[in-house]
Symmetry: C3
Subunit: 681 residues, 3 copies
């Protein structure tokens, strides 16, 4: 199976819950799946009781009989560990396994993911159930891979149980060795927070106005990530002992407070993503004026690709989302399942598994529709999926091709988690991340997210002509070293306001700003301010082009001979002050921009730096279309995805082969509502 | 007294709190009431301490002396049980009687209704205080009836104490016998929620994102209703032992999570309603664009009539509403007390009691104004009530007449409670219930609510030409049988989208939709969707008339020879698909409409089905007026109520007798701001 | 030092945290301060651990060495008690010292002000740390004064710990002696709340819909004030034992639920205020349409002056405000630090201390910017402060002058606290207080707040030509006596709707309204109502001028021969009813207005009563400028403060001396953006 996921061909799957249905339905269901082109199913992710219905009592018969049928029919199976939903016998007997809110009130049985990662009892019971499952089913020929837990850190990514406090103390002792080290790191001198001993330290508890120490919070988020990773790793190591050599281990994501890259590296063969673009059409959240809507899932797919260059879709939306309690949304329109499937593939997934075969008839999730409705009768959505299977045939040569981009956006977890708990950081970060993505989408500029850490080699960066690192408040010497080498070797790096003013603890540095980035960017920042609410939009003038310096403004001065002022503020009391500095550094250039990037600003940067719309000589597309490029053996495949509910015209400027029709085309082509076309060189 | 309530004449009352006032005021107060035409007072509903100031210590003197005075003055008394406000000595000694929030945090002494129904201690103490009160005062000649508790399920209609969990387990054991029965009913297979034993089951507790199992919630609401009914029944049975044979037992409502019909049948002689239409003018909630405003209380009165064809008003608004904490509203304007009193009478109440004689000078409720302000001086509102007494004289022939309607809206508690905890059901239900009521009001079409249960005989339905049953997600065989007979005998039934897809547990059925309603409606539903937020209003074309199919759309196909497509969707991707099917069935017709009913849609249905504006040949009214019809001995009384703050013209098309002036009238008549006229045939 | 604060010259200070910085920075910091004109620093207010790092272990060396340096450099020091941030060793060992929310959940270590005033353990530990600090440092020559705690009642001004309940019972026993006295005062007869003994009484706990007894709440707020005052007094008495005779004791405010006047009288030499006008520009709270914005801090300064005619500014804003969690705001613009400093001085402060010298690099407050940014480098803000020091030289003759006003607004804590927990009172009060202040500002009419209590002598009032007492729901005989004397001696008193309908317990009186004010105002109120939401703005006609009678309307009748109707309602159903009555009483006049005061209404009152724009013959100013007048030895100093971001013209009608330029001026003068000019007679 590994070779399939690895790109030899496209594979379609679905999520199946044999325990939800009378066993008399199983055989027919499997046959209908296979007829539709579905050759893999995922099972058992919430089925702890089907293996251990009471503590220490094991019953393997249920899945034995199902796997036997799967094997007989030729259906391949991804088997899951059931740890996302502990049984009631467990939580009642051991309430210490439950997660709690910040007030310490426990989340009770009846939903999902109500456990904490750090309870020794839960760890023991999980080790046991994974051991039992893997040792019993691990060798079954129908099984091709394993999923650990389900959606790690979904629902809640904060944990406040007593076990978490104990584990957090341990985590901090490992990190700081002495309590004084912690006091230094957390700046506890402020507000007289100094700790005398480890027993005084807790996970962030209820405080006046929810005002916890920010350095404490930052370490806490690191701790949550660490806890989740240890929990996954514990399971992975057990499964690896028992599973067949060729079987893979994965988990499905992607969620917050979690270093997915590290988790993937240490525990998984590859990452899978759960893709639900119809969230953009949720009745309560729909934003008519948002130009991005379901294209935002391309952002999530780019994030997944940054975790795991090889990845799959474990749950691809095939029906309306919605629980009995919230998230109500319409049924995907004709063409949207295809569109969103192709969106996944365009970004690099060769395995796509639909959530779920039949819609559940009971429980909170009974409106989270699968392919089939409650009756199980054939329907429009199943017909569309059959059609997708046929399309996959026509595009099979693409399997294994890699997404190709010349622009990168740098990220790192220190800054992501700092922005999570620091409103000042959050404001600038949110604005720029949203704008940069939208600008790249609307200008048809493929891009990658690239995660920096202290081990990042500059060689990993060199394939990008331009790297944006919008608001790296926290910088380290090692990361700066990689960036300096990247620039000196000819790269272009763009940094935005608020760069470099914090250290790894989230404390402000006492250097001149932008701190560790000062030399590379040739920039000094004698003054700064949030954009005053009565200033409206602050503009800067860049050779006659007005660009917005959004949210926060660093007032700049060039430092060093290579530093050149490219733009100056054009409004507010600091009009005339430099707003953008370019510093030539080795063979490359570093840019420091004094604001956050508004949408139009991001477009101007792409244009002025010469990386926007890179395929303009090949294809001319309206803004409502996404362009993604996959490349294999020197040949490029251009995915053009029309997210609009009406047909649009595109211009094919060079002769290309359209894969579904199998025709050569040059000149105008039409894409229907939600239609996707793939053009090969 | 029973004969009075039963309609021999109109009776006016008020709520009086002798314990709030120096006893020197009592005699004068009673005399002024009697002069104003008030002949009944309600007393003692929060006065536990006046009978049992400490546990086991009883002092009857206070009400003995007040009742003696009432008797002497000729004032009739409704006596209340005081169980809505347990004393502090009780809640401090037995904190288990307190209600709790879902986190388990107790609601403390100091407000009202802070108790739970299921605490054995509270039940015992309530049995005792009711026994003491009824045995001591039951034979007093001034007493004509009893009110149990006060506003059952007001303030809070959810209960999370430990006693509730214990009683809930008992309730479930009675219902399901085995824990496996409960697991089946609640679909606990989903998310691994399977229970091994009853001790693992609780009232719905705090869960992640407040995401409790929906079938659990549905049974919980049934349990709350059951608990409240048992509590009332316990009191009713005690009072019945001691009260005079001719005295009545009632309680005042109406509030949520309570099967009022069942409560009334088993425990009460009739229901009373607390009518506060001025809530429509609360400062924070006022909705300028709402065409219904205080007419919404006609909806509540229709609900009360559906509980108890004979009913009274225990609390009729006579002053500004408002607590120290919220619900601030202006003083009723001149004419509004009359308007709202006549609204109550138009819907069938012959007993109207004003809340309250004097405004309380202390406590949370000191802005909930009664007839008199703090000083007790004569005022405009008392003068208006004196005038109402005079009007009642002029209309006395109407007493005992019944509200007459040819249109019914079917309801049942299973669907009401399902909609309460299921956002998908709630959305469609809220829209249609609001629209249907508004359409009926604005077209001057009298209607009744009719509550279905498995015992409903179709004979109860036959008097209605048309029945709407907008979104009966849950259907049962017995209810379908009654409906099928109703239609086959010539009735017209209108059902809306989402009919029939659930069973009594709130689980989705695996039949073709609309499930049990498929045959009667001649309808199949191969596909469905929420109305997409970017679709705006979805319209259907019904013989050239455009009607909105709101909120959710079933895409229909006619099934069977009698099924006929009347309307097709005219927008969205399913334009052209059937949106309305009429199925001839026996002598009648069943309609299935694919959406929820918007206001204009409801008006079109009333018109096309020939039941809108039934008295168009008699009266022509502007939209701001309500028409209600009471009928007795073959004679009709037309109540015309002008809710507008300005005068309007109405056209009397047939000669009628206007009761207050006592004149025959034909042609144009004028109603002043808030004025009511009654025309008799 | 006392003489400096008392007005012999202006003194500038700053807040310094030696514990936040490497001691190698201290000397340079002090020198730079002195060069900038800063001669006083406040230290140690959160530094408990620097004196008592563990229970019973004392280390005086840190501040000894810092004070020695200060003494050497000639820097004067205000030393603080550190009780606002108890150490973690304390809260962990004695969790009973923590404050709790109303559910009883404790606020934990990690923020500030997480303690309660009533814990005996905390009181003991605080007595000890204050004793240790004062006895050790009290005689140090560098010290000139003491600050108690920090921002008493900031963050939270409600307390729900068990200690609070015990102390509350004691407070109530002192006040009411018997439990029946409490029952009477709290109207517990309503809703059967009667208490049998003190042990049943608590601080207001969680109740259904947060509906606590209003009289209970009113006493609770009095209790909180009493608790805070006792806490401050305990510290003051200890410090007084040890400090040098000439040193002062103060605390910084001002916050809610606290009788600051009483606290100041019993424990302090004078009050200091923490002035942060940039809150008006917080990103989330900014209100573009508010004409007042940062001028609202003049309202706060007037409040401070009403506490302590001599007062200082302990924290004057010098950088952007903002925590990591909230309150983000831009950096003060060039000129604003000067503007806000002069605003403080204009209202009477001769001591202004900037918060803070260096911006903290750690903790929640790291964005609450001081003068210097993280690096400590020289910057624009320090330059502006140096310039302010120079300006103070030019205006030094003003030191000691008193703010001069002819208009007063009466206030009292009974009504303030009643409005806090009573929505009806809150609505009228909020509207009138906001409007009156804005009208006074925009018409350039200096005013004072004047706090009434039962000891107020009418002589304190006589200097005001006009007193507004907008909505004194609660009145007492003693206060009415003072007001009656004030009016009879020639004063003009203006009262608004809802006057006099409550007693000191917050219970409604059964008198004719306006109760105790009926005789003085010659007014009777037979009827009243909130302004109905569909009435929009209710207007009254005052000799042809239309004034809005906002929020609530008393419908008036003149009572007595001296009563004269000045205005009548001009809309709603009560059009034509009297809305304003003037009663001649002795040599003066009392006015009763039936509504709350809207902005334009307040302007009309100022104009018609002849007290608006009192300096119109001297200066003509645009609305965006504030005029404040300080007076000394018969000479007036006119502060003109331009809050607008653009320059404006003012007209100097009489020849005046402009202090900064030192020139005589008559005719047009220009003020730049945010500029302040001071004109002397």
């Amino acid at each position: 199976m590994r070779e399939i996921i690895n790109g030899e061909r496209f594979v379609m799957g679905t999520c199946y819950y044999p325990e939800h249905w009378d066993s008399s339905l199983w055989e027919d269901d499997l046959e209908r799946m296979l007829q539709a082109g579905i050759e893999v199913i995922r099972i058992a992710e919430f089925a702890w009781n089907k293996i251990e219905p009471e503590e220490g009592v094991y019953t393997y018969e249920f899945f034995d009989s199902f796997l036997e049928l799967a094997q007989k029919k030729g259906m391949k199976v991804i088997f899951c560990t059931p740890t996302a939903t502990p049984p009631v016998w467990l939580t009642e007997k051991y309430p210490e396994v439950l997660n709690a809110d910040q007030d310490g009130l426990l989340y009770r049985h009846g939903a999902r993911r109500h456990y904490n990662y750090n309870s020794p009892v839960y760890q023991k019971l999980c080790r046991n159930i994974v051991e039992k499952s893997a040792s019993h089913y691990g060798g079954h020929p129908a099984i091709i891979g394993w999923q650990i837990d389900n959606e790690v850190n979904c629902e809640l990514d904060e944990f406040y149980s007593e076990s978490d406090t104990l584990a957090f103390r341990h985590f901090l002792q490992e990190k700081y060795k002495t309590i004084d080290g912690l006091n230094q790191a957390w700046g506890t001198i402020f507000w007289n927070q100094t700790y005398n001993c480890w027993e005084q330290v807790y996970v962030p508890r209820k405080t006046v106005h929810n005002t916890n120490n920010p350095h404490h919070l930052l370490d806490y988020y690191r701790f949550v990530s660490d806890s989740a990773r240890r929990f996954v790793r514990m399971q992975s190591e057990i499964i690896r002992k028992y599973c067949k050599k060729e079987d893979f281990i994965t988990t499905n994501g992607i969620f917050g407070n979690l270093d997915n890259q590290a988790m993937q590296k240490e525990s998984l063969d590859f990452m899978t993503y759960d893709s639900y673009p119809n969230f953009a059409y949720c009745l309560d959240d729909y934003q008519a004026e948002d130009p991005i809507k379901d294209r935002k899932w391309s952002r999530n797919l780019a994030e997944t690709r940054a975790i795991s260059p090889i990845f799959g879709i474990m749950e691809q939306q095939s029906g309306a989302n919605g629980w009995t309690t919230r998230m109500e949304a319409p049924t995907p329109r004709p063409g949207q399942i295809t569109l969103w499937t192709m969106q996944s593939i365009a970004h690099g997934a060769d395995f796509v598994s639909y959530f779920r075969w039949r819609t559940c008839t009971v429980g909170t999730e009974m409106y989270w529709h699968g392919i089939l409705d409650y009756s199980g009768r054939d329907n429009r959505r199943l017909r569309e999926i059959r059609e997708i299977a046929r399309k996959m045939e026509g595009m099979k040569e693409i399997a294994g091709a890699r997404y190709a981009a010349k622009v990168g956006i740098l990220k790192d977890y220190d800054n992501i988690w700092d922005a999570r708990q620091d409103k000042w950081h959050e404001r600038v970060d949110k604005c720029s991340q949203k704008s940069l993505f939208a600008a790249l989408q609307m200008t048809h500029t493929p891009f990658d997210y690239v995660y920096l850490d202290d081990e990042t080699d500059w060689e990993e960066l060199r394939k990008y002509e331009v790297l944006f690192y919008p608001h790296a408040s926290i910088l380290t010497d090692a990361r700066m070293k990689a960036l300096e080498t990247y620039v000196s070797e000819g790269g272009k790096l763009v940094m935005g306001c608020r760069t470099g003013y914090k250290d790894l603890c989230g404390r402000c540095v006492m250097d001149k700003l932008p701190g560790k980035a000062a030399e590379l960017t040739g920039t000094d920042i004698p003054e700064y301010s949030f954009v005053a609410p009565d200033d409206g939009r602050v503009l800067a003038d860049w050779d006659g082009t007005k660009v917005e310096a959004a949210v926060f403004n660093d007032l700049l001065e060039p430092a060093g001979e290579q530093a050149e002022v490219l733009a100056r503020y054009a409004s507010s009391y600091y009009a005339g002050t430099p707003a953008l500095i370019r510093n030539r550094y080795g063979k490359g250039e570093a840019y420091y921009f004094g604001g956050a990037f508004a949408l139009d600003t991001a477009k101007v940067f792409l244009d002025k730096l010469g990386v926007g719309t890179p395929w303009r000589e090949t294809l001319k597309l309206p803004e409502c279309c996404e362009l993604a490029v996959r490349e294999k053996d020197g040949r490029r495949y251009f995915f053009v995805l029309n997210y609009a509910p009406e047909s649009v015209k595109v211009e094919v400027k060079k002769e290309l082969r359209e894969l579904f029709a199998g025709e050569l085309i040059k000149g105008e082509a039409e894409l229907g509502a939600y239609e996707v076309k793939i053009f090969a060189e």
